[in-house]
Structure formats: C-alpha cells, structure tokens
C-alpha cells in the first residue's frame, strides 16, 4: 500500500502566500444554482436580483435546459427601487404564483444578489414569513449568492450552510458527508463506505427534503468539496466534528480521504485493502494513460473554484506535472491544509486576484497548461498558451477512484489536441 508520504523537499502549507486584490475574473456565487438545482430535485432557487443575475445564470448554464428549470430571477424594477412598491409584498406575490404553478417544489431558496444586498432587502425575514405561509408543504430558506460576498463555489457553501440550522437533532453516531456530488459519484462513494461496514451515513445536501439528515455531538463529518468553509463552521457550531483529509481526487486523494473515515470508524487495514484494492488499481491504470501526456509539463492555475490546491496536488504527485502557480480565491487552512502538506514545495501559492498582473506572470512563465475561466481561455490560446476551462472541473464527475482517469483526461486532452493539430493559425 502506498503511504501518503509528504514530499521530500517539504510541502506548501507554510509557503508564503501571495495575496492580491484587484480585478477578479470569476463568477459570483449565483452560479452554484446551475448544479444545485439539479442535485436537489424538489428545490427551487429564486434569485432576488437584477437582469444581470438572470443573464449570468443563462450564460453560465451554457446551454439552456428548456424543460422549465427549477430556478428563476425575480427581477427588481424601478418601482421596487423607488419604494413605490413594497418589495416584500411583491416577493410574496411572485412566490405564491410560483408555488401554485409548481406543486412539486418542497423547498424554496430565496437567493440574495448584489442589488438585493445593497438595497438591504431582508430575505431572512421574508423566508421566515413565507415558511409560515407555505408550511408544511414548502420550507423556505435564504442565503446570499451575491458577488459582493461570494466567489463562484462559495454559493454552494452559503446554500449548504443555510440548511445546517434547520437540520434535526440526533445523538446517534453518524457520518455526515457534505457537498453536492453527481448522483453517480455519490453512489460510488456510499458503496465504498458501505463495503467497509460504515452505513450510518447521511448526506448534505440530500436529494429530496424528505430524506432525513440530522446532526449532533456524535456526528462526524467529511467534506467532499474544498470550498465549504462556512458550512464547516456551521456544522462545528452544531457540535459535529470534522475529519480533516486531502480531498478525494485521484488515487491518493481518494485513498487518504477514505482512510481518514475508516480510521475514525475502526475499519481494519485488511478490510480497507480488500474494498479499495480493485478500484485503486483501475484508477492508477486510467491515470497512467493521461500521465504519459502530462508528465514533465508545467501547469498554472488561475483562481476559480477553490479546487485548485487539491487538483495541483493530484497533477504534481500522480501525473508528474510541475506547478508554477496555484491560485485560489480563498485558502482555509482547516480545509486545504492536508492537501498543501502533500503538494511539493516550489509553486507560488496565491490567494485572491489582480487578473492583469496574474496574466503578466502567466505570460512570463509560459506554462504548458493554464487552468483558467472561460473569459480568459480563448484569449490565452490565441497567445499560444494551452488552456483548460476551470468550470468543467466543477460540472463534470471527477471525484473518487472511478473518475480519476476522467479527471486526468480533462487536463491531458487540451495538451494532446495541441500536439495533434498540424496547421498554422494563418493571418
């Protein structure tokens, strides 16, 4: 069994972090609605915002999923701003209309935006009031996905954190697994843990409201996503204990993550080995194919989803790449520490962004692969850099053993493509 030996030259946990402020080329937290509304099948996300918010959701969704989606924007109009209309009355009317049309909706999230935060529409009060009106059929919660408060994946964090206070109490010793995963990945995760004999498992978010997730002092929780800082804090406030571990990307990350849970629940080494051996072997084989292309190449991460640090760990340790810069919108030691420990020293770790300065650094470094947002990818390609759109890492099943090869493939494909195309760009 390969042990997670820290790198010989030391890790990155204590490396100096370059902190930058300036223009950020990132999405706001509203974007999380795109995957959250697919995950929670009885939830509706109602953004209280502007035309910009609606346009963002439409553009970020890329393709329009035309079966009426379970999200929408209550667009503020001039009369709402001028105080000619009471925003709360208007909101009540829109919600009543919506719930009448969609009896399948059991939970409604009122999602705050930049404009609703700035004009201080109290969505907590609105959620409380609407809960009373529409209980018991519909539960109404609120969180902020605004750009002034959240960066991209922090929207999911804010959403999940808003659910923690309403979770039921339990004194049972249970494992709570936190983070929205594609159903197929979630099922794989549960089956691995079940095979180890761990079956007192709850999920946050659950697929439906009736799935009872509870919490208490005997709950231990593991995060499946590295961007759940507020949820982590909210769960600890409810008395639950966090199992810190590297995140389950690639063979090593998945093994370390499972190992932390197995140790907590007293699973023997023998059982652990029996359950993980076959999928680990598959994962290694699949990664090896992509690693052929990636080995010896350099990678530069622009900050996007907070997945950057665990992914840099995966690419450097399992795919043979060298990290030049690893940028993350935010770095939480409690969450990212275990991955930073394993990431070999060398790359510049950066937090926050001043996009023009960072582009200057990328141009100077000319990495073999640049991981960045959709706004930057084609412009950097046009300058001769090879890029991977970061958003795909969030929208694609990439966790755990069976997806490890797909994850490596997301990075190797642009590199392979570049070597395949035999033509000049022309004038």
């Amino acid at each position: 069994m390969n042990d997670l030996t820290p790198p010989a030259g030391g890790g990155c946990r204590t490396a100096p972090v370059l902190k930058e402020r300036g223009q950020r080329e990132v999405f706001c937290g509203l974007t999380g609605i795109i995957w959250l509304h697919r995950k929670m099948q009885d939830a509706f996300f109602l953004v209280v915002g502007s035309r910009t918010c609606a346009h963002l959701l439409q553009s970020a969704a890329g393709v329009m999923i035309f079966a009426e989606p379970r999200f929408g924007t209550a667009i503020l109009e001039e009369t709402d701003l001028a105080g000619m209309a009471d925003a709360h009355t208007e909101l009540d009317r829109e919600v009543a209309r919506l719930l009448a049309r969609r009896p399948d909706i059991r939970q409604l999230f009122l999602v705050g935006s930049c404009p609703s935060e700035v004009i201080k529409i109290d969505l907590a009060r609105a959620a409380e009031r609407l809960s009373q009106v529409h209980a018991p059929h519909v539960r109404v919660l609120n969180y902020s996905g605004s750009g002034i408060e959240t960066t991209f994946t922090q929207g999911e964090d804010a959403c999940l954190a808003s659910m923690v206070p309403v979770l039921k109490d339990t004194t049972a010793r249970e494992l709570l697994l936190v983070g929205a995963l594609p159903d197929v990945v979630e099922d794989q995760m549960l089956s691995l843990l079940n095979e180890m004999g761990i079956d007192n498992i709850r999920l946050l978010p659950a697929r439906r409201i009736d799935d009872t997730t509870a919490i208490g002092a005997n709950t231990v929780f593991a995060l499946t996503q590295p961007f759940l800082g507020d949820t982590h804090a909210a769960l600890e406030r409810r008395g639950a204990r966090h199992l810190a571990a590297p995140f389950p990307f690639g063979d090593e990350g998945t093994t370390a993550w499972l190992r932390a849970i197995a140790t907590e629940f007293g699973v023997s080494d023998e059982v652990f080995e029996r359950v993980t051996a076959a999928p680990r072997a598959r994962a290694r084989k699949a990664i090896a194919q992509a690693a052929e292309v990636l080995s010896g190449k350099s990678v530069f991460f622009f900050p996007d989803s907070q997945l950057e640090i665990p992914l840099a760990r995966f690419l450097t340790r399992e795919c043979g790449m060298t990290a030049v810069e690893v940028g993350s919108p935010y770095i939480h030691d409690a969450l990212h520490g275990p991955d930073l420990d394993l990431l070999p020293a060398g790359p510049q770790i950066s937090e926050g962004q001043d996009v023009d300065l960072q582009i200057d650094r990328a141009r100077a470094a000319r990495p073999d692969l640049t991981v960045c947002g959709l706004g930057l990818a084609n412009p950097l390609e046009a300058e001769g850099l090879t890029t991977k759109w970061a958003i795909e890492l969030v929208f694609t099943p990439v966790h755990f053993y069976e997806q490890a090869g797909d994850l490596a493939g997301l990075f190797s494909r642009p590199v392979r493509r570049k070597s395949l195309l035999q033509m000049d760009m022309g004038a």
Binding site: G22, Q23, R24, E25, V26, F27, C28, G29, L30, L46, V48, S50, R51, T52, A54, H55, L56, Q58, S59, A60, M64, F66, E68, P69, F71, G72, T73, A74, I75, L76, E77, E78, D80, L81, A85, A87, E90, L91, R93, E94, R97, L98, C114, P115, E117, V118, I119, S146, G147, I148, E149, T151, D356, L374, G375, L376, A377, N378, P379, A382
Partner: protein, 513 residues
C-alpha cells in the same frame, strides 16, 4: 418585480460592452461587483473572440461598501489607462454600482486624463441590452465626431453592427461589396472595427447606411440632425428589400446605382418546382424587430409561406411591428417573456418557426422545425463560413437557412404515404438531419390504445375514442397539434362528448382551406 427564467436581452452594460468589444483603441471602465466579469465569456466563447473584451471591472466587494468604492473606481480607471493606453475611455456603472451612486462620470472627470472620457448613463432597472448598445454608440459619436468637409467621392458610413450581432461580420463585408458595385465606398463602419479616431471621421461621409437600427439608430439620427447626413431606412435583408435599398441609395446620392445581380440565385431557387412544397407553409416569426420585419416580407413574398404570427422582444420596435402585423392580418406579440412566446406558438401550431435560439428550443419541445434568424446569439450563430444575411448573397443564404429544417419535397409525400414505416415514421424528422431518429411509439405501429385519452377543454371533457386517436397519430407530427385542436373545437361547438373517427374527418372538412 417580475419572475424571469430566460431573457432575450442582457442588461444595459452588456450592450455597452458589445460596442466596446468590437471597437479598437477604446476601453470601458465599469464600476461593478465581483462576478459581473461573466459577461466576458459571451465574447470569448460564443463569438470565439481571441482577445479579452477591453473592460476593466472595479470588482468591489461587500467590505468595500462601507469604506471607499469611489477610490477603488479611480484606481481601476487610472490602472486601465496606464496599462492599455486607449485613445478614449467610456465609463459607467453596472446595476449594483448604479445603486451605490458613486458617479463614475464625475469621478473620471476629476482625474485629469488627457484622453476623451465618455460618461454613460444606462438605467439598469428600466432598460435593456439593445438600448445600452444604441445609447453607448450615440454617446461615443456625439463626443468624438468632428465637423469636417465631405469626401470628394460619394462615401457612406455603415452604422450599427456590434459584437454579438447576428452575422454582423459577414453583413459588413457583403454590404461593403454591394455599395462598391454601386460606386460608393465606405468611409467608416461603426462601431464594428472602428477606433475612436475613425469615429471622429464619420461626418466626412455623404450619408449613413443604418444596418442595425436596434444598436445604431440614435447615432444615425444625431448625425442626420447635426451633420446633415441622411440615413437609409431600409435594411437590405431579402431580395425585395435589397432592391428597395438600392433604390433608396440612388435617391439619396443621385447615382444611377445599377446592381450586379449575377450571383443572386434565390428567386430561381424559390420558383423552381422543387420549392412548390413550400407553398402556404404556416410560419411564426419572432426575434428583434428588424429581422422580424425583413423575414415577414421574405416569408410571404419570396418564399410563398403563410405568415400566421409575428412579434418582437424589443419594445423599442413595438410600433413598427404592430403596424406590420396589421398589414399581414395577424396579431403582433410584443413581449420579452419566452413563456408567452411559447404559448402563442403552441396555440398557432405553425409548421415552422423563424426565431431566435429561444424559439429553437421551444420548437424542439413542440416538435416544430425552427430556423434561427435573429439575436440573441449562440455559438452556432458564428459559423466559420461566409454567411451574410444582407444583400444578394444574404438572400441566397437565407433561402438555404429556411429550407434546411424542413422535410423536403417528395419526402413529405412519402411520409404521408407510408406512415407506419418503421424507419420512416413521421417522428424521425427530416432525413438529411441524421442521428436523432427516435423509435415510433406503439400507437404509430398500430398497437392497441386501450385507454381513451381525456382532454379537458374549458368545462367540457372530451373523450377521444381509440380509433380516432389512432388516426390522429397517422397525421404528420407537424400538423397534428393543429388537427387535434381543430377537432376538439369542432366537437365542442357541436356539443359532442366523444370524438370518433367520423368527428375527426368532419372537422377536417369543416376547416379545409
């Protein structure tokens, strides 16, 4: 407050970005929170632009609100000017910054920059993207256009095309060629490809060609009033419109304007017998006002379709579209609510939709073919090949675009003759669109339908008997909805509770045209 799921137009500052991004040497300093940078991907991904939009976002966050967002704006503005060295900048606020009232225009003015600073006031909570683009171009032109002599030869400007415009790139090329044939050279295209110094040269032209009224009309009007430049009112999309446009140009310039029509194939393609099947196809047209008006004329007068409904999403065009609808004897649908558009399409059951990407989705859901004729755009609306909409080549392109989604000529008859063929069933779609041939359902294969279908029509409950339901399924899918509704209306009027095979054919005779 209005609940919206999908929107036809983005916010006003995206309109300003469409102008800034297609220009050169201009930079947009936008007071905006983190996240508004999403708009960059519209240009880099949908339009595949190979450079970042020339926009600096101040990226304020919650913690900045209590302190000093004004200083943040000034710093971002100065950094942008130093780094990108633009000839001029436009400054403005996105929807959130509008609320904090920092006055970017006033702030930029106090900075003593040695380049023109053009302030934009774009009301985010009452107007939308097209207005934003139109107003931005107008402000740029108003600030920069310099009085000067006309060129010696007859020249014109082309006004209106922007980034994310529907086929703007190719329309400019086609129109420039057409004008060249008429002996007119193009002075400046604005804003697409223009620099601020090009904008200053606008008044040298003898007249303006308004290619995209949605995004260029305010500038055209201002130039007419202040620089005595007449502008063209006809947008040359379609054969008739192109010929009328040429006549309009001849009247403005006094030139003979003999166009070269040797490459115009559309009229013969439409006359040739294979096109007979197009006759009377019922089409619904929706999009921006300009493209809808052009396509209504093409549909009726050049394709021989029957126009059963028209509408537009931009209220600025409500008046001309209403007038046009009257002329066509149909109701105009002026709305930016796609659910209303979907309901209208469902009620009219057209055989084809000419619309935007939104209507393409509606058509997919309802099983009605759709050709895309207008923005909002999708990556598919930026083909690699030359694909203009204006002029004679544009007419050729549009002919192809309109027939592509349809079941063609003899294929339509074969569908009707061999309804139950396992691979040629009517849900398979046109045979030249491979790969999406679903298996027919049991009904189409002639299986029994044990449960009669109940359809509620108002307070009446109509029951379709099995044989009628089975017969209905044999009707080609693109007219089936209409047949169902007609039959139900007919039955309701006759006070029938059940629909039999006989009712179906009585209704067919009743509604026969």
């Amino acid at each position: 407050m209005k609940l919206t799921v999908w929107t036809y137009e983005g916010p006003t500052h995206v309109g300003a970005m469409r102008v800034a991004t297609c220009m050169k040497g201009l930079h947009y300093v936008l007071h905006a929170p983190q996240g508004d940078t999403y708009a960059d991907l519209l240009f880099t991904m949908i339009e595949r632009r190979n450079h970042r939009p020339p926009v600096t976002y101040t990226t304020f966050q919650a913690r900045d609100l209590g302190s000093d967002t004004a200083t943040l704006f000034k710093t971002a503005c100065q950094d942008a000017v130093d780094r990108f060295e633009p000839e001029a900048i436009i400054v403005g606020a996105s929807c959130t910054a509008e609320l904090i009232q920092d006055d970017p225009a006033g702030l930029a003015e106090t900075m003593g920059l040695d380049i023109p600073v053009i302030p934009l006031e774009l009301p985010s909570y009452s107007r939308k993207e097209n207005y934003g683009a139109d107003e931005t171009l107008y402000q740029i032109v108003r600030t920069l256009a310099a009085p000067q002599d006309r060129t010696a030869h007859v020249t014109c400007n082309i006004l209106g095309p922007t980034a994310l415009g529907f086929r703007a790139r190719d329309d400019i090329e086609e129109l420039t060629g057409l004008l060249f044939d008429l002996g007119i050279s193009v002075n400046v295209v604005a804003p697409f490809g223009a620099t601020p110094s090009d904008i200053a040269q606008l008044p040298a032209a003898h007249f303006n060609v308004l290619l995209a009224p949605e995004t260029g009309e305010a500038a055209a009007r201002w130039l007419e009033k202040n620089h005595a430049q007449p502008y063209t009112k006809i947008v040359p999309i379609g054969v008739g419109a192109t010929r009328d446009f040429i006549a309009e140009v001849a009247a403005i310039t006094g030139l003979p304007c003999q166009p070269d029509e040797s490459r115009l194939r559309m009229p013969w393609w439409s006359r040739s017998v294979d096109s007979t099947y197009l006759t009377g196809k019922r089409v619904f047209i929706f999009g921006d006002g300009t493209h809808v008006a052009a396509h209504a004329r093409i549909a009726r007068d050049e394709m021989g379709f029957e126009v059963v409904g028209i509408g537009c999403y931009n209220r600025e065009m409500a008046r001309p579209i209403r007038a046009l609808a009257k002329d066509y004897g149909v109701d105009a649908l002026i709305t930016d609510d796609y659910l209303e558009v979907e309901a209208a399409i469902e009620a009219l059951s057209p055989e084809m939709i000419l619309g935007t990407q939104m209507e393409r989705h509606i058509g997919k859901r309802l099983g009605i073919p759709c050709a895309v004729i207008s923005a909002p755009v999708h990556v598919q609306d930026f083909p690699a090949r030359y694909s203009p909409q204006v002029g004679f080549e544009g007419a050729n392109v549009i002919f192809d675009t309109l027939i592509h989604p349809l079941v063609m000529g003899l294929e339509e008859h074969l569908l009707t003759m061999f309804r139950d063929d396992f691979e040629f069933h009517d849900a398979a779609g046109p045979s030249h669109h491979g790969g999406h041939s679903p298996l027919p359902n049991d009904g189409a294969l002639g299986g029994d339908i044990s449960e009669p279908t109940k359809t509620e029509t108002g307070s009446d409950v109509l029951v379709w008997l099995a044989d009628a339901e089975k017969e209905l399924k044999k009707i080609p899918f693109f007219v089936r909805g209409k047949a169902r509704r007609n039959t139900e209306t007919f039955a309701a009027e006759k006070g029938l509770a059940e629909i039999s095979l006989e009712t179906l054919y009585e209704a067919k005779a009743h509604y026969a045209r």
